[in-house]
Symmetry: C3
Subunit: 267 residues, 3 copies
């Protein structure tokens, strides 16, 4: 893959101007940060999980983010109601398969979601995406180039099977649809020391997916912006808590020239 | 309306001395910040939503804050149980009609609450208060003076209909009961870039309502203190996250002379 | 009791190396901070409350933290399922009896948990521990030496009755099992101005209990480290919010020599 230049800023600018509504049915641990990161980008977060309003709320939103981090069977039913409403309106649905592989409930319910509603973007880390693929693949150790090659293959399977953009987060993020691929190499290790950066990444993707039809490009742009903010924050941080605060501040003020200068994307 | 001087500090001082319990049935997104802002004022937050204890907890509290931001029908039933207990004990009940107008569930349930229990303070932003009024009024554009005049009228209707203090938050906050009115002109635009400032405002009002019978005065004092803290914080902030942190720090240390010097209240 | 030296760092080091999974069924107010403090120590937090996965998740964890701060009867049933699974696997179970005494539901449900599953560490503040003891003891006023003596007695009763380590948090923390006792005198008053420090303390104890069989030693080491971080943070803080941020940063970077120099423990 060759280094490429993406115009992530133009999507960020659209978010700031259009202030799209991003509806969430997400996990209870990171729900505040998911809402707040969307607000920090300039969009409007909504979190509404009652079955009685999930469909109506999804219908007025510009994207829908689902996250199974603290799922219950009832909650997943509300997710399906929201997703079916989003599907009908043509609103993109992002599914963060948070914790898949840890329990049978998570495996079963994520598969149910993938089969019963149209998921437009599937997002997970390496082990989650491998699990969701249903394959018994074992990534070939810690060498990131090899992991990357394996994950390209696995993401390709998932993309075909569910006709969805697949996002594999990690040191290098892999984004695939049926036609093209991106690798985002921005980010900072400090992100792994703060609870919720993965969940927030899904919400950030949700905000970007709300302003363009090209969902792979949206995901690549989203992760590029989020991770550049993390890199800027790491320079100022004294630990994970001040890092997190600075990450939000930097994301709020992120400028075109910074994004263009710092982005590390291949396609 | 003429500029007036309110003694917001004397209520803040009472909160710090008496440490009243402020019971919440609030939304899951901002629940931590609602609890923490009450604690930062010097009061004691309690969040208990089980039907089996909602009445008992309300009865030992000095005020009750309800917020329908992430409502479900079950949760609203628990709110009614808590509110009826508070009504019986003469404890003020604050209702934040968060998100009213977005879905039918929110419209129906907020009306149910207003009709089935005694709400002492109704709090919402401009569009929420307009919606709750049931009138098809359209505010006359963006000019804040005109919006303010319209909201005076709408708040007046609501006040009469539900025999409650009405608080309309916005650039200028309007507080009305049947007899008198306040407009609080403190605050900072940065508040709109942080999730939860509206919910927190309701909790701050709850803490002030816990230490005086004059609920309109309590609401005006609460918003004055909270928004002065926001103004102080904005001077130090590098973005919305450092702004939020500084707002809590400033609220914790807020002094009489600062409140008296910075307040912008008309009555 | 005589001043003693505990090697809290060696347990902290094990946490950082082994990254044990600490499963939580905790309260919805502080759930993020509970997860984040465990992550900051270097362990892996998991929060999973569905009955359908609580047992399975507990079985892959190295400790289980229960907190009844926002309990419902259903939620307590999920706690029992998780705890029975933990008991079977020999994984330590920590119960934070948050808010016991405030309502009958809390009294009943905490007793149910203590009677129906094996709780390895019971943690509460002075009034909660007194309530859980079922005794009508009234602590003899504000003098901390007298309170401390009384709490030693009460903690001793509880320890015998439930065959558990008892942790009483306060200005001085008391830790007892059937054989030995610790008093941890670290900490800072600013901790009482932030919502969640008590809940976080239980989670920190959970992380330390995941790496040693000596649960009293784990609890003493946990509180020592957490409270030293608080002392370091208080030096830099401008208020409770910047204090909290600094506390997380300091905990993340806590070093052996700092722990050994600052610890104030008697045994």
């Amino acid at each position: 893959m060759a280094k490429t230049k993406i115009d992530a800023y133009s999507l960020l600018k659209r978010i700031r101007e259009e202030k799209p509504i991003v509806h969430h049915l997400t996990n209870w641990v990171t729900i505040y940060d998911c809402a707040n990161v969307v607000k920090t980008l300039g969009a409007s977060p909504v979190m509404a999980h009652a079955r009685e309003e999930a469909a109506e709320m999804a219908a007025i939103a510009s994207s829908l983010v689902l996250n199974i981090g603290t799922l219950t069977p009832d909650f997943v039913e509300a997710m399906k109601i929201a997703a079916k409403s989003a599907n009908k309106k043509g609103i993109p649905v992002i599914l963060d398969i948070c914790g898949v592989g840890a329990t049978r409930l998570r495996d079963d319910k994520s598969l149910e979601l993938l089969n019963e509603v149209k998921i437009d973007i599937i997002k997970g880390n390496v082990s989650e995406i491998v699990r969701a693929s249903g394959e018994n693949i074992r990534t070939r150790g810690v060498d990131s180039t090899e992991v990357e090659q394996d994950m390209f293959t696995v993401a390709g399977w998932l993309t075909k099977r569910f006709n969805a953009v697949v996002v594999v987060t990690g040191k290098h993020d892999i984004i695939r649809n049926g036609i093209k691929s991106y690798v985002v190499k921005n980010g900072h290790p400090m992100m792994t020391h703060v609870v919720g950066t993965g969940c927030m990444a899904a919400s950030v993707i949700g905000a970007f997916a709300a302003v363009t039809k090209d969902l792979a490009y949206a995901a690549a742009s989203a992760l590029t912006c989020f991770e550049i903010a993390a890199e800027l924050a790491a320079k100022k941080a004294k630990g994970p808590a001040s890092f997190k605060e600075a990450m939000f501040d930097c994301l709020f003020k992120l400028e075109e020239k910074t994004i263009n200068k710092m982005q590390k994307v291949t396609a």
